[in-house]
């Protein structure tokens, strides 16, 4: 039997080209397999073979979505694959978005099975879980060994058009697809059973999970900027020299509150970034590129804004959980409210 032809997509890091300083590399293709593809290819045994690997820098892909997608797609197409695999991306946000975007595109354009894998909090999940199968991974590459066998066996099922089980059975993230099944008991009986369990505070499983809408209402617009107190917040990890609070370069366990009374310019004040998820050289050279203090001080002088709040809040957004980010924001927002801050400018890298 002919071997199934697989094309694999990875980022600059997993290709061994480099870290953040290489995140802007353009797409390139290499025959055969590399990085996590070595493991995948081994597990495919004789059934399938990775014939080509496409590599693209995470920043390049996300900053040039459409062009990057088209370039990567042409490279994938050139191998005439039967199956496309992207990642695993774990908790790397830009990588996850790239994997999801390109997998969706390949599925639509080439009509072949596609598969990617990432951590459930990766923004790529919210964006693409409905479109493509995403195998759930842990939040770091430490879960590589567990996830690769899941990916290969599931990918082969997809290619062979075998029956796909539920997300729990197969290990993929729910796509919101409902399938009709026959059950022994009628709906009324099942509903009452569920209610009884609920009343007894026992575990029960709903047959129709409600979608979660957790967006917040937009805050009311400011009437008069010249009287407004504006605060600066960043997920770009800008900290005073030496990172006094020791905010971690990824999965930050804290945020910092930094006094900027009398400070007019973060470049001059030698602020730097603690963030490990982007090339820090530009921020270290001039932190105003992340936290625009210089311009806001000018505007304060010119009376365009009422005043700049004299504390800025900073954490590292790299791999930091949604739960923690929310907790940090809720904490410092109490202070913002107490000090009558009217609006927030939040910058992200």
């Amino acid at each position: 039997m002919k071997k199934i032809k697989v094309v694999h997509y990875i980022n600059q890091f997993f290709a061994g080209i480099g870290g953040e300083e290489k995140a802007d590399i353009k797409p390139e293709k290499k025959d055969g397999f590399m990085g996590p593809g070595i493991g995948l290819n081994g597990m495919f045994k004789e059934e399938a073979e990775i014939v080509g690997t496409i590599i693209c820098g995470d920043s390049y892909f996300n900053e040039n979505l459409e062009e990057a997608q088209a370039e990567v797609f042409e490279m994938i197409k050139s191998y005439e694959p039967d199956l496309f695999i992207a990642g695993p991306a774990f908790n790397a946000g830009r990588y996850g978005v790239a994997c999801g975007a390109i997998a969706k595109y390949v599925k639509e354009e080439l009509n072949i099975p596609v598969l990617t894998a990432m951590y459930k909090e990766n923004p790529g999940v919210d964006m693409y879980a409905k479109d493509v199968h995403i195998i759930e991974t842990g939040d770091s590459a430490a879960s590589m060994r567990k996830v690769l066998p899941l990916m290969t066996s599931f990918a082969l099922k997809l290619v062979k058009n075998e029956v796909i089980g539920t997300p729990e059975e197969e290990g993929y993230i729910p796509m919101g697809v409902r399938r009709n099944v026959f059950v022994d008991e009628i709906g009324g009986k099942r509903a009452v059973d569920m209610l009884v369990k609920k009343l007894n505070k026992e575990d029960f499983e709903t047959e129709y999970p409600m979608p979660v809408f957790d967006n917040v209402e937009p805050g009311k617009a400011i009437k008069d900027l010249s009287k407004a107190k504006i605060a600066l917040v960043t997920s770009g990890g800008i900290v005073p020299p030496g990172n006094p609070d020791k905010i971690e370069s990824s999965s930050a366990s804290k945020y910092g509150a930094y006094d900027i009374t009398g400070v007019r310019n973060l470049e001059v004040a030698c602020h730097e970034t603690a963030h490990g998820g982007y090339d820090p050289s530009f921020a270290n050279e001039d932190a105003n590129r992340i936290v625009p203090l210089d311009v806001l001080r000018d505007m304060e002088d010119e009376g365009i804004i009422g005043e700049l709040y004299n504390t800025f809040f900073s954490t590292v957004g790299n791999g930091t959980s949604v739960k923690n980010s929310l907790k940090y924001a809720e904490e410092f927002t109490k202070q913002l409210l107490a000090d009558d801050v009217d609006a927030v400018i939040l910058t992200s890298t």
Partner: protein, 75 residues
């Protein structure tokens, strides 16, 4: 973080490069930035030009804060 702040009623403008991620995390007022490692700058420009670029982005951000919106909006 955007949601954590904005649910208090304080309006937030999110300046960021990867707009789809901003939409996913639930920012309401969004201003697209220059690039991931330097959202509010451009190291290829001379310093006065770079500051002008930053000022433009901030002016736009402040404008969004004075604009009433009812849903997620990319300015």
């Amino acid at each position: 973080m955007v949601k954590g702040i904005e649910k208090s009623g304080i309006p937030v403008v999110h300046i960021c490069t990867v707009v789809p991620i901003s939409l996913t995390v639930g920012a309401n007022r969004i201003v697209p930035a220059t690039a991931i490692p330097y959202p509010l700058g451009d190291p290829t420009l001379a310093e006065p030009e770079e500051k002008k670029l930053r000022r433009k982005l901030i002016e736009k951000a402040l404008e969004t804060l004075t604009t009433e919106i009812s849903e997620q909006t990319v300015f």
